[in-house]
Symmetry: C2
Subunit: 134 residues, 2 copies
DNA sequence: CTGACTGCAAACGTTTTGCACGGTA
DNA sequence: TACCGTGCAAAACGTTTGCAGTCAG
């Protein structure tokens, strides 16, 4: 069975061709906003509705299968949930990369300064990617 | 001269009673979303328009006087621009606190892993604040 | 005095909803 | 077969725009 089908079942989402395509697209592209997703889906399903995109994205978010990534000064993108990671956003080409960075040193500092108990650490680096800085 | 008036002038924003009130409110409350800001303003200016809030917030953002803070799973809030800092968001009471944390250790790690050149580091910690965990 | 700001209403873009139909389990 | 997903159209929502009157510089 294909990977996307398996994943959808694991997250208790009914398997439809549209959903498989959304998962495939997120898998290959990594980060997509609603419009990108809609454009891509239109290639495969010329009569797909934007409402279908929204409904599916929303139910996938609810089931913690995908997550919304809020980017400063830009539209939100969606990505498949995986290991906790940070994001690199290029101001020049707008590309978003994932990077797994050990944030324990910052968490230690926080613990020494505050009584706040952290469940989730969100880090977004904005700057210029290696290909753009060449 | 009051503080807010002075600040508005420094940022080349014409001083109006509505703008002074917005700055005062942001100064005292720290972080406010558009609706909170509108509600507060309605107390002082019963006929203020939402459009006025938007127009002022937008021009203040353009002049780098205030900034939008995007919070995972929640509405954006606005704050006066000051020293770079991170945010603590309580999942329980939704309060947002500022915290100045040294993020150089994470930047060092990033530098050793990638060629990305960082201009701005955005950190949001989500969890439970000290008063809620009591 | 001039240009910018305000408040109102209309317009706009984005997201959600209701419904009839079709597909999945 | 029963329920859920799809596509369409309409509705709802948040934000922006245009305009006439007013105010700040």
């Amino acid at each position: 069975m294909e990977n996307s089908t398996k994943l959808l079942k694991e997250f208790n989402l009914k398997v439809t061709p549209q959903r498989i395509a959304i998962v495939d697209e997120l898998y290959y592209k990594g980060h997509l906003n609603i419009d990108d997703l809609y454009s891509s889906m239109l290639n495969k399903f010329p009569s797909i509705s934007l409402a279908t995109i929204y409904k599916n994205v929303n139910s996938m978010v609810e089931k913690f299968f995908i997550s919304e990534v809020k980017i400063p000064n830009s539209k939100s993108v969606y990505e498949l949930i995986k290991e906790e990671h940070s994001h690199l956003v290029c101001e020049n080409c707008n590309k978003i990369e994932d990077i797994v960075i050990d944030t324990s040193s910052v968490l230690e500092k926080l613990k020494s300064q505050s009584d706040f108990s952290v469940n989730y650490t969100n880090v977004v680096f904005t700057g210029v990617c290696s290909s753009c800085s060449k």
